[in-house]
């Protein structure tokens, strides 16, 4: 897997405001390639995740060939978690990213190498927020398996990315991994992210994105539309959900557009990094 960092400078965006709004509106009313009413989208998405919750992790492994672990490692590496941080992982139901952050902060090796203030270690709070209670339950279960059931640092919260229940300027970090695609109104989620972050806090988004490389793009499309739904059928017993998944990836704004949306929400130093030629992209920004 070739990790290629590509950042774009956001020059003056001579965006046609109307078409911009139109494409966002289309995200709000699109359920994959279907057109749906805005009010219905979140319910439909909710159904998808209720259906796939139990086999979510194994499907991730199968679909990405295990690569999703590396992508999440990279995300957490970029975040550089520190002891005492207040972190919010949105749409992080099954806890993949949250556990990695927890490990990064509490790892014995790290504590040995760096002088970590034990008191600040106690203050660490990792909030896992998800709109779907089934996904949260899977996450809590996995926490219990790791012996973190009663750990005060991990907090599981049910909530909507578009209307978070956290205070302004309360978070040092905000991550959303493979979740922003499913949000009805992306700008609202971004605005909420901006609101809850402290000054200097970082926003990181890991998401399936657009591939531009000629031949690779065709292979990827073939894989997405021919293979993944059938895998979904086979393993999760749910073809439609995975059809929705691959379609929603295509409907999501491309890297540059999404980066400009993040900048519009108020973030500074907005960059993105393509992984696997654009199959996945990590967008980042800082609130100043």
């Amino acid at each position: 897997m070739a990790l290629r960092s590509v950042s774009r400078r956001l020059g003056s965006r001579i965006l046609n405001h109307r078409s911009f709004v139109a494409s966002l509106h289309s995200h709000a009313t699109s359920f994959g390639f279907q057109e749906v009413k805005e009010e219905d989208k979140s319910k439909l998405v909710g159904n998808v995740f209720t259906n796939v919750a139990s086999s979510y992790d194994i499907m991730n492994d199968v679909m990405s060939g295990g690569l999703h672990r590396l992508w999440k490692e990279r995300l957490v590496g970029k975040l550089s978690p520190f002891a005492g941080m207040k972190h919010l992982d949105v749409a992080g139901g099954t806890g993949d990213v949250a556990f990695r952050i927890y490990d990064a902060i509490y790892s014995v090796k790290r504590r040995a190498l760096q002088k970590v203030d034990e008191a600040s270690l106690e203050e660490t709070q990792i909030y896992v927020c998800d709109i779907n209670p089934n996904m949260l339950n899977v996450g809590k279960q996995r926490a219990a398996e790791r012996g973190l059931r009663d750990n005060k640092s991990l907090v599981w919260v049910e909530g909507n990315a578009e209307a978070l229940s956290f205070d302004n300027n309360s978070m040092d970090g905000y991550t959303i991994a493979f979740g922003i695609r499913n949000v009805t109104h992306i700008e609202k989620a971004l605005a909420e992210a901006y609101r809850v972050l402290k000054r200097g806090g970082r926003f990181l988004c890991l998401e399936l994105s657009h591939v531009d490389i000629p031949i690779f793009k065709n292979l990827y499309d073939l894989y997405s539309f021919q293979v993944i739904p059938h895998l979904g059928e086979l393993i999760a017993g749910d073809k439609e959900s995975y059809q929705y998944l691959v379609e929603s990836v295509r409907r999501f704004p491309p890297q540059e557009k999404f980066a400009s949306m993040i900048a519009d929400a108020g973030f500074e130093k907005v960059e993105y990094e393509n992984l696997v030629g654009g199959v996945v992209a990590i967008h980042s920004g800082i609130k100043l």
């Binding site: 960092s5 590509v6 950042s7 774009r8 400078r9 956001l10 020059g11 003056s12 970029k78 975040l79 550089s80 520190f82 941080m85 760096q114 002088k115 040092d172 970090g173 972050l197 402290k198 000054r199 200097g200 806090g201 970082r202 980066a259 400009s260 993040i262 900048a263 519009d264 929400a265 108020g266 973030f267 500074e268 130093k269 907005v270 960059e271 990094e273 980042s284 920004g285 800082i286 100043l288």
Partner: protein
């Protein structure tokens, strides 16, 4: 490049605004206060475009990277500037400079590490998360310090040091001494800084910074050479500076007296070296001349013998 060329282009005065720091984009001294110029652009390996302050309408979209490199260069997003912003949008570069500057205070205690930078960020009132976004984190701090010191040196030179009454070797010694004294507060952690600078990822930048420093010193000494000598002079001075710097790491004498004695010796050696090279060159020329004469004499003799033998015919 560097100040020598810049001065030649602009004929002296106003050198400060004309100085083109290699790693950084063009200084817009009207916008960026001088105390921050040294801290810019540590977030990218190559040069990158500046972003305007709050109040400007748009980013310059056409600036290209100064150095072609495959690694990322930063981009800055701005919110909608169409509506007048509620608060002035702090530049990321400025924030970074501010954080790094505040971090320096913690370096003697915590070293050139992320902890120092996080402590610095807390001092400034910014979440420590921001440290995660500095590229090559510890290197950013070290490079910021190096730039600050260079800036300080340049300011000192501009504000008038009494260099005219000294011979060149004494001038060089004085300037190096001034520069090295800036590192004294951090001496306990300086080996760590050196090792960070020696790291493969950081070597390119640290080399450039040292090159600029050496160029600056030679320029202040009054050297305007731009032929091959230029490289030789700077290499030698770079060597003198580095060896003195390393000597200083283990010097316990009062006020680093031993280091300055060492420095004077090295500078003297360098100048002696210059003389010795010159002497060697003359010697080689003489020998060459001598050998040439004898070979010529030999050839003449051979020619005469051959012409006599062939009965006086000449061709």
């Amino acid at each position: 490049m560097y100040r020598t060329a810049a001065k030649r282009l602009l004929g002296g005065g106003g050198a400060f605004t004309a100085t083109r720091l290699l790693r950084f984009p063009k200084l817009r001294s009207t916008i960026i206060p001088s105390s921050y110029t040294s801290g810019l652009c540590t977030s990218s390996v190559g040069g990158n475009a500046e972003s305007p302050m709050g109040g400007n309408q748009s980013v310059n979209p056409n600036q290209s990277d100064h150095t072609a490199s495959s690694s990322s260069s930063t981009s800055t997003g701005e919110g909608p500037r169409r509506d007048e912003s509620r608060k002035p949008r702090a530049e990321f570069q400025e924030e970074q400079a501010r954080v790094l500057s505040a971090s320096l205070r913690h370096v003697p205690r915590l070293g050139w590490t992320e902890e120092a930078m996080m402590a610095g960020s807390r001092d400034v009132g910014v979440s420590p998360s921001i440290v995660g976004s500095f590229s090559r984190k510890e290197a950013a701090l070290v490079e910021f310090f190096m730039d600050e010191c260079l800036q300080l040196l340049m300011d000192k030179i501009d504000s008038g040091l009494d260099l005219q009454n000294l011979i060149p070797s004494a001038r060089i010694a004085k300037l190096i001494r001034i520069r090295l004294e800036m590192q004294v507060p951090y001496m306990s952690k300086w080996p760590q800084a050196l090792s960070i600078q020696a790291h493969p990822l950081n070597v390119a930048t640290s080399f450039k910074q040292r090159a600029m420093l050496v160029d600056e010193i030679w320029h202040a000494v009054g050297d305007g050479a731009s032929d091959l000598d230029w490289y030789v002079k700077r290499t030698i001075l770079g060597g003198v500076y580095s060896t003195t710097e390393i000597y200083m790491l283990t010097d316990d004498s009062l006020e680093h007296r031993d280091t300055w004695a060492f420095l004077d010796d090295r500078v003297k050696d360098a100048f002696d070296l210059k003389k010795s090279i010159q002497e060697a060159r003359y010697f080689a020329q003489d020998i060459g001349a001598g050998v040439g004469k004898s070979v010529q004499g030999l050839m003449n003799g051979v020619m005469q013998t051959m012409s006599r033998r062939s009965g006086g015919t000449t061709f």
